[in-house]
Symmetry: C2
Subunit: 239 residues, 2 copies
């Protein structure tokens, strides 16, 4: 895939641009310390995130009304805390839970994200294309200094990935044919859905997304480009 | 209105952030010189822009299907050129007209826009809230170096200002109560419509929008803030 066929890059955000596991573990530790509660916070963070796909699938199947990530995160968090015995009078209270939901708005970018995006932005239009809602993505971009040109979100079409409508909306809002837009993600399911709508696809490996020594998914078949991180992505696209 | 009540600023773009008259006059001059056609290009630019409000009003009344600005600009341009005797075999051809429609994607910011926005961005979330479509606004922001955090457009709700739905959508997508968002514009009708939806309003004077020695509209009654330009706006908001 020659780089000059591409005009815009659309980025998945959670896992691909920002390190949710470190950010959420840190927030749990802070909130837990304050409340005098200790737990295996990385495992609680993982359990929270594991509820993500099945919960979104319930929305795309129409079993649960569309709501933004704050709403869904709160539902999932309450379940996860109950499951781990962290609710009740000696568990996390209302304000703690709100703070944890809000922690998803302030996750740290992977170390290569800002330098890589800065290089890529010289040549391409950079957009998010995320399951996060617009305000959340604005907070993440602003807080992390992420130089996006545009914030695109599933919120604009009222569904969730991998609904084809999400990928079509990127092409529509950027006013580009899908093959001029490169979807960048570390999750094969996202890239498969993007490719099915005619987008180009770039797989970025994020071996630490679920912590050290975890199984890393291989790139999907037929992917246009594989990169180690965003600096490598910039180099492969001639930036 | 204390500045700490405001979290985000939503900007009108054409006239408020960018100088459409200079940009369009320059593009007409370039295209005309190439085609060997001379005309009073500033007047043609003004005539094109004067068709703007009546054309958008036809869309909001449901008489014309929603389409993006490229489509509407082309319809208006063809009419204006015919009106000025600039069509036919010795007028502007198809490629020239496409170039003129595209010129709206590359308009120059007013000289205070980038420095003012840069100061404001330190403290506030900055978004567009424009009748331009998303791709057009991305091109304007990227080309002009305008540091917006977010691109909001009427395209996201399929209508045009001053439809109340446009202003409600800003509040919804920014996930803020309307009174936490300051609508910034040089056009009273825009601010009146924003205020009717509970937004705060900031009027910026743009005495040269329609060229020198033209009538300048006074700020609307009840406006929260009046500023001479974006640097003055930044100062008045404590930036």
């Amino acid at each position: 895939m020659p780089a000059d066929e591409i005009e815009a890059l659309a980025f998945d955000v959670f896992g691909t641009v920002v390190d949710w596991r470190s950010g959420i573990t840190e927030a749990f530790t802070r909130v837990g310390d304050r409340a005098g509660i200790s737990a295996d916070w990385p495992s609680v963070a993982d359990a929270w995130r594991r509820r993500y796909r099945p919960t979104l699938d319930r929305v795309t199947r129409g079993e649960l009304a569309w709501q933004n990530f704050d709403g869904l995160h709160r539902i999932m968090l309450d379940d996860v805390l109950a499951e781990h015995g962290l609710d009740g009078s000696d568990g996390l209270g209302e304000a703690d839970r709100e703070e944890m939901v809000r922690a998803w708005h302030g996750l740290p970018p992977w170390p290569d994200a800002v330098p890589g995006l800065t290089r890529l932005r010289e040549r391409f239009i950079l957009s998010t294309l995320s399951n996060g809602h617009v305000a959340m993505l604005v907070h993440l971009a602003k807080g992390g200094g992420l130089p996006f040109d545009c914030i695109l979100s599933v919120e604009l079409v009222g569904t969730y990935k991998p609904d084809p409508e999400v990928y079509r909306s990127a092409s529509r809002f950027l006013d580009l044919p899908p093959e001029r837009v490169l979807m960048v993600a570390c999750h094969p399911y996202d890239l498969r859905a993007a490719a099915a709508e005619g987008m180009r696809t770039g797989f970025v490996t994020r071996p630490l997304e679920w912590g050290p020594d975890t199984r890393v998914e291989p790139p999907p078949e037929g992917v246009d480009l594989v990169a180690e991180d965003f600096n490598d992505l910039a180099a492969r696209l001639g930036c």
